[in-house]
Point group: C2
Amino acid sequence: MKKKREGKTTSKIFDDHDHGMCFDDAIEQIENYFLKKNLQFTPLRRKVFEILIRDHKPLGAYEILEALGRDGFSSSPPIAYRVLDFLMEHGFVHKIQGLNAFIACSNPNHSHSPAFVICRKCEKVAEVDEKKSGISFNSPNIDNFEVEKTTVEMTGVCTTCSRAATI
Amino acid sequence: MKKKREGKTTSKIFDDHDHGMCFDDAIEQIENYFLKKNLQFTPLRRKVFEILIRDHKPLGAYEILEALGRDGFSSSPPIAYRVLDFLMEHGFVHKIQGLNAFIACSNPNHSHSPAFVICRKCEKVAEVDEKKSGISFNSPNIDNFEVEKTTVEMTGVCTTCSRAATI
DNA sequence: CTGATAGTGTTATGTTATAACATGTTATGA
DNA sequence: TCATAACATGTTATAACATAACACTATCAG
């Protein structure tokens, strides 16, 4: 049952996202990817991904562990960290460094260098596409340094929060 | 006694920096800044800054604490974190999120949004200037979201390390 | 002198992450 | 088919990073 996205007037970047769509599609995409790559989409991995994609907000490793515990899985720390590492390797989960938290990827299709917009009040996070957002993060002119991974995070206050109160 | 920089052939970005100069200047700059702003450059604050600027490499809070202890200061965690927060507020220290570590700022003059290039092998870090490095990190087209702070880190392997060994 | 502020110190604890090793399960190939 | 390798999960313990809460001192404005 896919939700249709409702017209909204709030901060576009945080809402420009059909989450019902996203959930179903995301599960399908990850299944296909794992099949194709001959990797195991085990119950544990599926569960961790579902936990992340269902909230679609950043969760700390220990929050994920609690959720795992509630669902009958082991909840000792290495369980979460191992699965998260695995899902990150394959681009289905990103770590938000500024929050020590993990979030399901919004764009598992592209192999991208994601950028995140983080509201420091509500801690909502939007993963923005380089092109759509107007960010351009050009390959830097750094002699002989091969960039393997980029971390780009922008922190501020989202429209909803800034409307709700003066800082 | 200011060291003159020797001709080198290693990764430019990590070496394009006169550290002898940097140390002396940095101390002077921070002193002036604090004077001007009527802030106290206390022995503890000075020591923390000196520890960071003298190595000019990222140090974890607990490494800084050890150094403080060796120099006769208290080495309980809040000491380091408080001073680091203070120095970060004023732009003399940055946190490298990818390493949970702190580094003295290379450019305390400009109020900038720094970007860091990190070698994942030797953990050397270079703070790069947007313009010099060719990075362009344009203000993103995000409706009504005011970016207060950016984190930009690029991880890879520096020339020295990649020459030293195949991955 | 009094009360406010800032700086430092201390104890205790909270939070995040990993090391090291054990167990089960599946695939491979001699 | 049996050894073995590779992978996935589980467990215990601990490491590494960070903050809360409160105490003490010094300085300074009123």
